[in-house]
């Protein structure tokens, strides 16, 4: 299974260590991990120009390194969105990266689950997971709000949010969740 981790930690901290240990354990279990430290790539804000939909279909018009994110995501079986919470929501850095993934979908709309959603651009999309580091004041309501929003994002990315967990989760539990629960599903998706 090819796994992409998008690390939206804006500055080095223990969260990086947690993620590094997780990735090492995933590799030891035979998975291929592609780690992108978002703070280390040139990543401009989406400016809503829609060039990716009407000028260069599928490609962002800005000359930053965001293509690395889109390629890694669409070529993975599973993508992990990872970031510390700040003001009740995952980091602005992760959000900046998410905004730059709309070239992966199409401007046309379709009805999905009785709602309007964008049409897919690719045949298949990775399964998705969310890992956040709580803030001091993070409560169950914050996590519920964020989980619902990221489930909506996953739905618009023609996929589903498999889990939404915090970095308080024991690493081995998270590894098992990804490898044992998701691996068979990703294999069946390819078949």
């Amino acid at each position: 299974m090819i796994i992409t981790t998008l690390n939206g930690n804006p500055a080095p901290s223990n969260f990086d260590e947690y993620l590094a240990q997780l990735e090492t354990r995933l590799e030891e279990k035979g998975q291929t991990v592609n780690h992108i430290a978002l703070r280390d790539i040139d990543l401009s804000y989406c400016i809503g120009c829609f060039g990716c939909w009407v000028k260069t279909p599928g490609v962002c018009s800005s000359a930053d390194e965001s293509c690395e994110i889109r390629r890694a995501m669409i070529q993975s079986d599973f993508t992990l969105w990872a970031a510390p919470m700040n003001m009740g929501f995952p980091s602005a850095l992760l959000k900046r990266a998410l905004d730059k993934t709309i070239p992966l979908i199409h401007p046309y709309m379709v009805v999905d689950q009785g709602e309007a959603h964008h049409r897919k651009r690719y045949e298949s999309y990775p399964r998705l997971g969310l890992l956040v580091e709580p803030e001091l004041d993070t409560d169950a309501n914050d996590l519920d709000i964020v989980t619902n929003i990221f489930s909506r994002i996953a739905l618009n990315f023609k996929s589903r949010l498999e889990f939404s967990l915090t970095s308080d989760t024991p690493i081995e539990q998270l590894v098992n969740r990804i490898v044992e629960d998701l691996y068979p599903m990703c294999q069946s998706r390819k078949a």
Binding site: G48, P57, R152
Partner: protein
């Protein structure tokens, strides 16, 4: 993960009517976006009441976020508007929210309300971030004045004036009543929001409409103008 369905609009508080409103426009398009047009209508309605004024700042001026956070701290009342980007706030709006971190839990933060508009025809898409915004106000210990949600917001700036007349009138009305009564008129909010969700009856009709060329005209005309219509389904990152 199961997604919670049927979220209800949040309800704003009533406050002593403010005399001045500070508006932050969170559209990455700045002056050229649909969000600014809507916020201006709201601000003009507020200003139409004698003795009331508003100011507006564009959050796409990233270098000014520190200055804006000071303006926020000193404001009498705040409105923040943005277009829905991947089911939540645009990255630059989140960056501004993080610039407010030092105001977390501070006493006497100004009351705050929001406006969220999206290109989706149904308002429901914006209800999820609306709950975040309500919680954000609570995190700032600020009175929450409510969230104006607008579906089908993309393209407002391209519409002929008469097509926007009702929307603009409702937005002005909301601004005027905020100045007069200190709250968002709950009767005007559904008018602005539009369809919350397609009914079981209308859903199939909408589905058929989406298959027509009229539904994709907005995009097709631009794709053709740019000479890339035939490449519209390009998959540049597909594995070879």
């Amino acid at each position: 993960m199961p997604i919670e369905k049927g979220l209800k609009p949040t309800v704003g508080e009533r406050i002593t009517p403010p005399g001045h409103l500070t508006i932050f426009n969170g559209s990455p398009r700045g002056n050229k976006g649909n969000t600014r047009l809507m916020l201006e209508q709201f601000g003009e309605g507020f200003e139409s009441v004698p003795g009331h004024t508003y100011e507006l700042h564009n959050l796409n001026r990233l270098n000014d976020h520190k200055k804006f956070s000071q303006i926020f701290r000193d404001a009498e009342s705040i409105w923040m508007g943005f277009p829905l980007y991947t089911d939540s706030m645009p990255g630059m709006v989140k960056a501004f929210i993080e610039a407010l971190e030092s105001l977390r839990g501070r006493e006497n933060n100004p009351p705050i309300g929001f406006l969220v508009q999206s290109g989706f025809p149904e308002a429901l898409h914006s209800r999820y971030v609306e709950r975040y915004l309500e919680k954000l106000a609570s995190r700032l210990k600020a009175s929450y004045l409510g969230t104006i949600v607008k579906g089908s917001g993309e393209g407002i700036r391209m519409m002929p004036a008469d097509r926007n007349a009702k929307l603009f009138s409702s937005l002005q009305g909301l601004g005027r009543e905020l100045a007069q009564n200190g709250y968002l008129n709950p009767e005007l909010l559904p008018e602005i929001a539009g369809v919350e969700r397609y009914s079981a009856l209308l859903g199939p009709v909408f589905k058929i409409f989406l298959r027509t060329s009229a539904a994709s005209w907005h995009w097709d005309s631009q794709l053709k103008e740019n000479g890339v219509y035939e490449e519209r389904f390009a998959q540049p990152y597909a594995q070879q």
